[in-house]
């Protein structure tokens, strides 16, 4: 676990069940490295920063080396012993542990490449099924869950809704959602400060939302970390409540920069607090020019007509895109069948 931020790995659960199994890489005293998979639900806990020890008999490792001239060779390593020079004699000097010549390796890979690959898988699955997915992000206490509950109730009979809930602990939010009758899966991130695309992918296979439905992903309440992680959603929706202060967009710019819609929630409380809606929106526009904003109250339902209309437009567009894809596939099948028939008749005629 990181002592700076408290983020952890191996602590995620979906519906209370552990999900993480990860690779461990070990370096032995003789400098050799190997890896093996490791699941935390196997009853073996450890601090990932520490590694752990393995016993290996001298001579049991086969090593591959590449020399400075590009040639490869392998040999059995007896535990830290130097060995005679092979094909590289005279090129790179002594071949002994600690004296191996170094070389640069171009990588050019995005740190988030793995997350982004999982996000692309999620996005493809959602597109194939015409599901409109939103990633709701905000600070803790902005009223996201209450907003979701009212949204689900208002959409009853109009649009099927499924929910993925992210919190460090408890299934309280998923329980509140399930009480509305909507399907919900709770992800507990343990010490984690954000949802990532792999967690959402796993939750999606548990949740199995209906084709053409609306998927609402309620991220961990945190206005910083979730900004960096694409989950495969159509849009990030940032929720800012009037009790938080109108300068929040400037204080937490990354999230407002990443969002495609801003909901100003608890608008019913605006007369009682020192919150200038226009200023909040103007600040958000400094980070994301033209960011659409809707003022809503999950308590009174104010602004819900516009919010629900926005959701239904998005869901309709997702379904229409899926239908277009399927039509294109049917046309392609028809073309291929016509081509097969043409060749068959050409063969019969010959």
């Amino acid at each position: 676990m990181c002592t700076t931020c408290g983020c952890g790995q191996g602590e995620t659960t979906i519906e209370g069940k552990p999900v993480e199994a990860h690779e461990h890489v070990h370096r032995h005293d003789d400098g050799t490295v190997h890896s093996h998979p490791h699941a935390h639900d196997a009853g073996h806990a450890h601090d990932p920063a520490q590694g752990h020890a393995h016993e290996h008999a001298a001579g049991e490792h086969l090593h591959w080396h590449q020399h400075a001239d590009g040639t490869w060779h392998s040999h059995v390593h007896g535990g830290g012993t130097a060995h005679p020079l092979g094909a590289a004699a005279g090129l790179g000097g002594a071949h002994a542990p600690g004296m191996t010549p170094t070389r640069m390796l171009q990588i050019e890979q995005d740190i988030l490449a793995k997350n982004d690959a999982f996000a692309a898988d999620n996005r493809r699955l959602l597109a194939d099924r015409g599901i409109f997915a939103l990633n709701l992000v905000s600070s803790p206490g902005s009223g996201k869950t209450t907003l979701l509950v009212r949204t689900i109730e208002a959409l009853a009979g109009r649009l099927a809704v499924a929910v993925i809930e992210g919190d460090q602990q408890t299934s309280l939010d998923a329980d509140r959602i399930r009480a509305t009758g909507a399907a919900a899966v709770q992800i507990n991130t343990g010490k984690g400060c954000h949802l990532d695309a792999q967690m959402v992918g796993r939750a999606l296979s548990t949740l199995n939302p209906a084709d053409g439905s609306l998927l609402l992903i309620e991220n961990v309440g945190n206005l910083v970390c979730p900004a960096a992680f694409d989950l495969g959603e159509a849009h990030k929706v940032v929720v800012l409540s009037v009790t938080e202060g109108d300068d929040k967009p400037l204080k937490y710019p990354d999230m407002f920069h990443a969002a495609d819609l801003m909901l100003v929630n608890k608008i019913d409380l605006a007369p009682h607090v020192d919150f200038d809606v226009d200023r909040a929106i103007a600040y958000a526009h400094r980070l994301r020019p033209g960011l659409p904003a809707l003022c809503v109250s999950a308590k009174t339902g104010e602004g819900f007509t516009e919010w629900l209309a926005w959701l239904e437009r998005g869901a309709a567009a997702a379904r229409a895109a899926r239908d277009r894809d399927i039509d294109a596939l049917h046309r392609r099948i028809a073309e291929l069948e016509a081509e097969l028939a043409r060749r068959a008749s050409a063969g019969a005629a010959a």
């Binding site: 931020c5 170094t102 400060c193 990532d196 960096a228 710019p253 020019p289």
Partner: protein, 113 residues
Amino acid sequence: MHEMALAEGMLELVENAAKRNGAARVTAVRLELGVLSHVARDALSFCFDAVTKGGIANGAVLEIEATPGAAWCMPCGARVPLAQLGDPCPRCGGWQLTVVQGEEMRVKEIEIA
């Protein structure tokens, strides 16, 4: 603070590349980090040290190249420097800006032995 997750992502890229190339050790990692990216440089450096401990990249030097931020200003029709998100265009003072550079978080190269 999500730097631990980013450091783990980085470690995975580094380890995979090192293994593919038969490296025994990774001695240095060069990272390109845009100044507008979602990351605190010191926290990332701290987390990198924590996740590399005991592995193939144990003790590797983390070299961070900071890529400056830049945006396209629509009213100016020009590319302008941007030191941080929320800053106005240095030419017109407006905020009709689209970030075009500075959000990179890439492992550029590693030094292996």
